[in-house]
Structures are given as C-alpha cells and as structure tokens.
Point group: D2
Chain length 293, copies 4
C-alpha cells in the first residue's frame, strides 16, 4: 500500500528495498564471526538452550553442543515471555555466564536484545546480537542494531510477510550495519499440531530477493523436539545456510521451551544427518579443527 | 503451553491472568480523562489524523473533529512505518503541535510511544499514552507504561490471540498502572479485500474476561474509509465502549493512511449515526457541553 | 492469478464476475419466499436447530422460533461432520419432519444439500436450498443449484476470500438461478477463543460489490451461544439483511453444535434487541401478521 | 469440540481416528500400483500437466516425464476452477487421452474426480483416483471413494488442520478402501509471496500419526516453478515418500497453472537432485528398468 522512496523493484518483480536487494549487491554477503563464515559454502550450526538459567546449565550445554559439532552458542539472558509472572531471564548475570561458556569452549555467542537501553550492554558481551521474532517491528531497536558493530541475527516476525521482513531488515542496513543473518522461525497459521508453521519456502524466496545469509530455527518453528531433526534436514535441502536449534542438558527441567529442546545425544545424531544432507546439496558442515582431527 | 504463576482461571474457563481478570475485579474499570469517562455508560469517540504532519493540519483537523463531536484527539508524533524511507513522524515537534491543538479545542490528546527512552517525554505531553499494535509484545515498553501515571490506550497486536493480549496487558497492570483501555484494531488473516480483518467478536470476549474498557479502531481494522462507518456502528452494537477513527482535513494529501481517513463531513455524519445505535443499545454518546447546548 | 473471460472490473476496482456484479444489475436483488422478502428494507430472521434429530425436537423448536419472531425455519437433514462416526443426519426422514414443521407453523424451510445426486430430492422438500461452507468449492453442486428453481442460501467457505466467494456464486447464476442469498459465517484464523472469526467487514464489502442479499450466521461464526446476541446485533449494524441463528429446544441434549445454540427464551430476547438496532438503522424486522396483531 | 465415537487417542496424544491411526496398524501401508510401491523404501515421482488439454500435449508431456524418471502420470480431466468462465477440463475425452498416454509409456495414471456421479467413470480409466484439495470436505465423495477399488490420492484441504484431514481420510477407510496416499499441498496463510504455504512439518506429523504413505505437491504448494526444486528436495528430506509435480511440454501455453509448471528439462535436473537427497536419507528413487539399464 505504502510507497517507499528507496524501493527499487528488481527483475523478479521483487519489492525488496534498496540495500537489502540482491540487485544492489549481486554477491552473497558472507559474515565472518571469529573465523566462522555464515552465508558461504559451509553450513553453520547454532545450538544452545532457550534461556541461560545458571552457570552449570550453560557450561554443561555449551560443552555438549561444542563436542557435538555446533559452531555458535545460543542462550537468552533477556527473555520475552507471554506472562509477566514467567521467568524473564537473568539479565547481565546471564550475559556473564555466556562469556564464561565462550571462554571455556571457544564458541562465539549469540543472545537476544529487547530494549534500546540494553543494546550497548548486550553488544559488549555478544558476538552476534539477536533481534527476536516479537521485536521484528520494533523499529527503534532495529535502528540501534544498525548502529552497533556486531552482526545481527534477525528473526522473522511470526506474522510478518517476507516483504515486511525485508523492509524491516532495511532499517538495520540503512543505519550502516550490513552484517545481517536472516532467520525463518515459523509463522502463525490456523494449524495447531505444531507451535508455528515453519515456512521453508521463505528460504528460496529470501535467497532470491536478497544477498543476506538465511538460516532456519526448527525448534521454534515446530515447538516439538521430535519434529526438529526432520525439519532441520528439510531446511538444509531447501537451501538454508545453517540452522539454529535449542539443546538443553536437561530438557525436562528447562525453565522455558523444554518441550522443543533436544537432548545432547539427539543433537549429536542430528549433526551426523545434516552432514549427509549438506553433502547431497554440494555443501558441507563447518567443523571445528578439533573435530576434524 | 506455558504455565503462569499468577494465572487464575475463572468461571468462564478464562485463562486471563490475575489483575486483568474480571474475577479479581468484577466492577468495570472506568477511566476519567479530564472529565471524560471511558468504560462507563457513555460511548467515547477518539478522532484525528494518523500522523501529526504540521501545525496547520493538526489544528484544522482538531477543530473539525471537536465540532463534529469527538471527545479525544488522536495523532502520531512517532510513527512505526514498514519502510525506513517513509515519513517517520515529527517527534517532539509533533508533541508540541498536539499540545497546541489541545489548548485550542480543550480535547485531551492520545499519542503513541514506541521506545522506552521516549516514555518520559511522551508522558509529559500526552493525556493518554498509546501502545501500538506492533509494540504489543514489546515487554520492556509495557513495563515502562506500567510505571507511568497516565492512562494507556493499548492496542491488540495484529498477530496476537486474545489470551496473549490479556497477558500483555497484565505486564502493564502488574507494574502498578490499572488505567488501560483495550483496543481491537483488526487481525491478520488470508482475506485481502480489507487491510486487516476486524475481529469484533473480541469485544464481547474481552468484556467477559476483563474489567477494562474496550474500544474499536475501524480505520486500521478495515483500511478503507468507506468501510469505517459500517464497522464503527457494528462495533458499538457489539458492545464497545467507544471507537477511534482516523480523520484528516485533507485525506488525499495525508503523509500516511490517507486511504482509510474520513473527511470531516463524513465524520460528522458518522457521529449522528453512532448516536442512534448507542441509544438502541441503551447507551448514549459522551457529548461536550458546548454541543449539547 | 487466473484471468476470467466473463470478468468485468467495476468502478470500485472490484474483480467480481459479470452476473454477480452490482454494475450489471445496480438494483438490489430482492428474493420473495412465500411472501417474505429477503434483501429489501426488512430484516429477516432464520432460526432453528443445527440438525433435525426427531419429530418432537423439530416441531417444538419450530413453534418456539415462530412465536419468538423467526421468519424462516432452518434444520439439517444431511450433516457434514468432521468424523464419519458422528451423527450424519436423518436424510429424507429429516426432510419429511421439516415439511411437517412447515405445515404446522407456516414457516418456510431452509435445509442443506451436499451431494449432486440429492439435489432433486432436497429441492422437492425445501423452500430454500442451502449450500454449506464446506461445499462452497463443490462446483458440480453449484452448477446443479444453478439449475434448480429454488432460492439458494449460499454460505461463504471458511477458507474462501470474498473474491473466490463471488466467483463461486457466479457458478450458480451462470446456470440460470439468480436467487442467491449470501451468508457470512466466520472464517478460519489463528484466534482460538472463538470457533471461527466472524468477518463482519464482509457485509459492506459484499453489499458494495454485488446486488445480492447478505445475511450473517453468528452461531457458526462464534461457536458460543453467549456470543451470538452481540454479534447478531453487530451484523445488523454492519448492514446485513438478516441473520441465521441456531436455536434448540434443549441445547444440552443436541446431537451437534449444542454449545452454540440459543435456548428459546434467549432467542425471544434477541429478537427484541434486533428490533431496536434495525430501527436505529432505518429498517425494521419482518414480522408475521399474527405477531404484529 | 466434537467427540468422535471411533476415536482412539494414542500414545502421542493423537486424536487420529481408529482406522487411520498408526496404533491400529503399526506397519506402514505400502500401496502397489502396477508394480510401483508407494510408501515403501523407494521414493515415487508423479509428474504431468495440471490439465489434459489435447492429445498431443498429454502424449508429449507423458513421454518427457517418462524419460525424465517419473513413475506415474498426472493430468486433470475434470478441473475445479475459481471462475465458471475458465477452462473446466475435457471430461471423458480427457480420460481417453490419459489412457492413450498410459498405453504408450506404461505409466499408471492419476486423475481427479469431483462429482459422486462421475466416480464410476473415473474409476474405469484411472489407476489412482485423486480427491483434490477443494473436495477434502466433500464427504459424499469420500464415501464413494471408499467404495471404489482403486487407490486414492487424497489431498489435504488448503485450510484443513491435520486433525480434520485424518478424520476425512477415515471416511474413505471406513467404507472399506485402505489404499490412501496422503498429500500435503500447501495451506492458506497471510503470506502472499507464495500461492500457498507448503506445510512440510505435516510430513513428519502425518508419518507419526498414521500408517499411510505421505507425498508432497510443491507445485501447488508454492505456485512458482522456480520454487519447486528447492521444496521438492526439502520434502524428501522431511521424510516424504514421494512428490507430485506439474510438468508441461509448453508451460507458457498452458490453459491452467503454467506459472508453476516445470519445463521437461527442469524436471530432468530435478530428478537427478532428488536422487542425491534420497540417498542421503538412506532411500532411493524408484526407477523404471529401462532407465536403470
């Protein structure tokens, strides 16, 4: 409906805005995080708990996902929760625990920021800033992320069209930050057997319209741990550059999202399966030197 | 899925949380804004442009809606826009223009806040703080609204279930602010002939589950000015305590949402029609003394 | 996507096809059923049980809705049910019971047909043929309805856009039957507090695009009897030409949809309320002479 | 909401009804069509045009998909179209052309039936009866399909939950026909960049709840031929037993769905890619002896 001054319709009839559009930058954007390349030939795996709960939990899970083949550690210190009475995250204490986990495992860390006032703090601790699904339309937050000097893992809103998603990403790019990792994580539909409907078609659509890397989160996308392996494999087969999955050292005791978290041993098996699919796609997993040896 | 410690399922099988729940407060919450009661017997009309564009536009529109029967003036100084290249609002300058319009017409002013850092500023100027649809899940912002001493017009997210909406309202109440006006403004569905699908069933559902006043925004709910009168009347017939409509002195020149803005003369006719429906519902419009005389 | 040879875009940018389009027939279509006019100035009320269950139930309910002010009796003899193990309706036996109810009360009868092979039989018994929501895309059935000489109450599919709905109605018109009553009955969305989301905006959209009468079914549209009165009133305020509601002599014992059926005394109160809203709209209820006396 | 007498909730909390439920038949149902096994270890490919348009078109396309590696030929003789003025299919003439194509290539044929009155005729010509998405809730048609002695390719309704889909399949099984192939073909959501949203999570959900084979139609699921290869690969990686794709000898001249039809040479490449993914999944394509030689 709105007309956008910066819009530049491309040959695919895309209405993707200027900076995000593949026409303005035909070359794939590859983001380097401590030597790990996101958006290149290799498939990247991000794993960890929904929330950082305590030092022991995050260290134990970090070690488990590291040895299972994860490249980046995830974990929330600030948690957007439906109810104000649910666990809201440990805040800066959680960020410190993540730092400790990075120190021990060498894994870079991605964690969510929800408030413009916390951007500076989160940027100090994180290797990658996450903007969550509920914040996709938080334009002041996007502008702050655009000014920060860290890559941004930018999740699609659960009821955002792909067109709106790309316009929101443009908010970040137009402030000067070009290191954006897009992430399909399920959209809201009428279907109730899954928590959300994982929209895997978004992967090839996004890859065609934009030069940015695209990953998939099958944990939030399905809401059930038993569905995660099938959908993670499907994501790679659809052309995703990586996946982000929830793994917890003790899923049954998780303070949030335990139902959709993999056990460490399930994660190990998943990585092996993803290796096969990646090769069938002419790609390969990014693996730590220690695991390759 | 989540269990909420503060939840208190009521006799209607509601999962509405504690403070928002009608069981904890059977009496309707009535909010008094400069003598205008919202949530009482009288129907309240909020009108004005989507965005404050300049002094002349807001003053002219304010005078028009005042003399047409509006009780409260709306107008955005901070605008959430799909594209970063669209008009983003005048910021504090817009707030000053709204103050001037209030001074001239006596109409209280409602305006949106998008960023926790701007809450204090907006609170200083506004009579009612608006939390927009895209911010419904911005929990840090809700907590700040809960600490502010102004009533909050809290719009339903276009992707939010009624249950999630009530839990989000609880974020505001649990910080100490009980003066919340709920607002149905359309949800996203597959239908494309309207901008959103106005979910009028939400009105009786909300009135049953909570003690808070409920109004309806048929302008965003439909996206077309010619649909606004029919849906405004339907909203009152469904039991709403008021409506919020977009009116612009020159809709064809509007910087945003011109397509869904009423001409002043259309607004005048609408108020007359709403008066009849209100009476058929055993209620009446809240009218300024000057108009009653 | 498809181009339609018979399409004739009108001044409203409508893509409504030729015969259904208001441009080809600016005059409202008014359908006369035994002296009851549907689509004229008067508001029509259709009431009765979801399914015909036995002679006593249909007669008792028919008498109740007649004396409460209903103009037409509804009741299903062929029932589309989610499960093959649920009650499927009485078939021709149910049609005979409906005839008996008509004989006793004088109320014309509307009942659903699901199968092309049963069209002739249902046409023989019914005053109005109903095509249900699940059959909206059953094109062979629509063509048969187009050949039958009875008015058709044609419900919108719960998954159909308004554009698809009008193209489906065109299937009936293009076979020669112009007596179609459109019926909004709720669409499927993500919201779960109501069975469907009643899309009342469809009423003014349909009235603008087509010359056909439009009624609303708030029983299926909400799924809860306590929501029916509010949404029935809203439907009339939105401009509907009538409503269709489920009433059962003993809702708690209903074989289907008991949860959304009104008690006879609730129906009596509803008609009184609808009378007030109708008058506020400059219209009036169609009332039997016996009730007017 | 409804309770179903035959329901038998299983250990997965499934509400899948009795006959369709994996608990009543833990063994995978494998359907044999002229020596091609559907639901076994091998992956099956169904290909052909949306509609049978003329003898030359269907023969040419049949030869192309045969030599490209298809196992079964698809093509519609009865076409459900949004507008009554669009091409409605050739009817029995189309069925005869399909027979000719089968004779020349040896490929079994799947074609849609829309009307109970045509079931016998379509059964006579087809090797597999298709029930299309718009007919998923056509219960009389399902019952007739249950009485026919041919396997049924039963597509999910575009707005049906998985639970409703399984209850609808039960209509077919409960009449005695156990040879049902389920087919995910995209659901309707708010996203507009694809024709439908292909719900690939439905594949593992269906495989867990039922013993029936599950295939995927990425042509209708996406609506754009350039998206078909990515989503066909993702479907196999998600665990599907096969795919159904639209191929046309001259897509630009197609009377329907040309936009989503592959060129024959695109189909050849797709089969090669699917072969790799199938092997990565520990499976393999079903290939004609002539192609293996």
């Amino acid at each position: 409906m709105e007309t956008h001054k910066g819009d530049n319709p491309n040959k695919y009839g895309s209405s993707a805005p200027n900076l995000v559009n593949r026409q303005t930058n035909a070359k794939d954007t590859v983001i380097n995080v401590n030597g790990i390349e996101i958006g290149g030939e290799e498939i990247v795996i991000i794993a960890g708990p929904c929330a950082v709960e305590n030092m022991e939990q995050i260290l134990e899970t970090a070690r488990a996902v590291y040895s299972g083949g994860a490249n980046i550690l995830r974990g929330g210190a600030y948690k957007p929760r439906t109810s104000p009475y649910s666990f809201q995250g440990l805040g800066e204490e959680g960020l410190r625990y993540l730092s400790q986990a990075r120190k021990e495992t060498g894994l870079p860390v991605v964690t969510e920021v929800m408030d413009t006032r916390e951007m500076e703090l989160v940027c100090k601790y994180a290797d990658i800033i996450q903007i969550g699904s509920r914040s996709m339309h938080n334009f002041p937050l996007l502008k702050e992320a655009g000014k920060c000097r860290k890559p941004v893992l930018f999740k699609r809103g659960l009821m955002a069209t792909i067109d709106e998603y790309l316009h929101a990403a443009e908010y970040i790019l137009s402030e000067g930050n070009r290191e954006i990792i897009l992430c399909e994580r399920g959209i809201r539909t009428f279907e109730t057997s899954t928590r959300n409907t994982l929209d895997l078609s978004a992967v090839p659509v996004l890859k065609r319209q934009t030069h940015l890397p695209v990953i998939v989160d099958p944990s939030h996308g399905t809401g059930h741990s038993w569905l995660v392996p099938a959908m993670a494999k499907a994501a790679i087969a659809a052309g995703a550059d990586g996946i982000m999955v929830e793994v917890h050292n003790k899923p049954l005791e998780a303070l949030s999202d335990g139902q959709q978290s993999l056990y460490p041993e399930e994660f190990v098996q998943l990585v092996k399966d993803l290796d096969k699919i990646s090769q069938a796609m002419g790609r390969r997993l990014f693996l730590h030197k220690s695991l390759l040896a």
